[in-house]
Amino acid sequence: MRRVPSFLLLGVAVLVCLYPFAWMFLSSFKTNKEIYQPTLFFPSDYEWDSYAVLWSGEYLPFLDYFLHSILVSGGQALLATFVTAAAGFAFSKMSFRGSGWLFGVAILIILVPKQALAVPLFEWMAWLGWQGNLWSLALPGVASGLGVIFFTQVFRKVPDELIDLAKVEGLSPVRTFVALLPLIAPALMTFCFLHFILSWQEHLLPLLLLDDENLTLPIALAKLRDSSHRIPEAVGMAAATLSLIPVVFLFGLCFRKMKTALVELSLS
């Protein structure tokens, strides 16, 4: 009996987290009239029309946008993971003059988020002539202040004996870093996944930086729901459902490693 409030709290929380998404999925089969009744859960019939519309690209080339999102977020997350892991390794395991100062400078990024720098970034890209292509979106997010802090912490946990051993074996620091990567695989996957989500959700920069044919998912979704209400709501719901699939899939893959990494990190 003591457990009842506990189950109640968890049950309500899970319901609030899950029910709207189930509603969203089922709404991709509904008519506009049905969607505007939020308390209605099941559609009257199941037609996959709205998915077919997205597939055929009738309103916008949804598949292209989907692919762009995957490329940009995936590329950015992988690059960010290795670039910031290398920096984190150097900051925690190598002693050199000015390392503290350099670390401070590196994490200044956190104070001025790239969203706040959107306007000058936009001008800079225009000046470079990169504006419009996907690189202009993928690269600015790679230098991540949170990543440097995260990996500096992670590498602090790696025993110094391993580094000394590598030194005795005559490995260069770069080789040592590469050799240590499997050891911190859970942390690498955790950060990669978190960064993937952040990049997947980025809205302002693609809005400013990308050409019309190179857009990404968040903008595609906003376009599908533009104020003219020309497009059936069900299509937006179908797109929203599809946009959730890759992230949930990745999350399923990373979930256990993520927990391992977080448990290890909190032991300090």
Binding site: A86, A143, L207, L221, A222, V248, S266
Partner: protein
Amino acid sequence: MGGKTGFSLLCLLGPFFALWALFWLVPLGMGIDLSLQSPDFRPVHRDAVLPENAPVSSSLTFLDWRTPQEEVREDVPRYVGLENFEKAIADSKFHKALSNTVIYVFGSIFVILPLAFALAVNLHALARVPRGVLVFLLMIPGLALPGVLSTLFYLFFHGRTGALNQYLVIPLGFDPVNWMMDPNFIMPSLIMQAVWRWTGLVTLFFLCGLEAIPRWQFEVARIEGVGPWMRMRSILFPGVRHLAVFAAVFLVVDGFAAFSGAYNLLGGSGGIQDSGLLLVTYVYQVAFPGGSGRFDFPGAAAMSLLVAPVTAFLLFLLLQARKTFFPR
């Protein structure tokens, strides 16, 4: 030591700092430079023409910025010193956006952290498998695009017949709330959206912190007959201390950059009486005003730069708070 180590350092730190300089330092420098210029002066590479349909509220098809505009005003001085900053500081709408954002950030932190802690403690008492499944499910809103969350908020939760009114407000005996139109409820709406989005992730953080607590500590507490409050204070809180700070920093950084949710929910405007106007939305509005408005890039740049000290101050406060609450 010597050349070899130097080369290794270059290989390890080089990529990060190259990107850091290219995509953060240069834009920051340009932002500072831009913020000192007069909005009336338009150097050649910045010339742009606003097309008929402005980008702000409706369609997101973006402007072609490379269209040259011939009219370069020669009579206006290029640099105007700190005028843009003075203008921003005197701008009441900027104050509104700033205070809204601070309320948004703190409101969401003060709801999310305790709620996530309560959820994590309750999850911790479960067996391993259901625990994992439930955390996974709680995380789902955090995985969705903010635009999707806003759409769901708009269609599902809000509205006279929406879930919030039907399942919560009316059963409790209140009048249905007009969430999007009543200025008193726009901010709570945005905070609720943030809570819905991030509580799962923070719960996962806390749960991992709790799982890292050695089992003997609970055993000792049980044998000594320690009460629930002492157990909480001396075992559970210290267990999640670091992760709580990390989560709070993450929420502050994310809250200040918040754009997508409010943008989708309010269509790029600040909502009724600007009660839902957040900083990034306002900066965007100043930079790319709809209709007949004039691009004010320098003004927008000055505002962006004013955000940095505020964020720094908040993070400083957080770290101070950590020292007060969790000495050691």
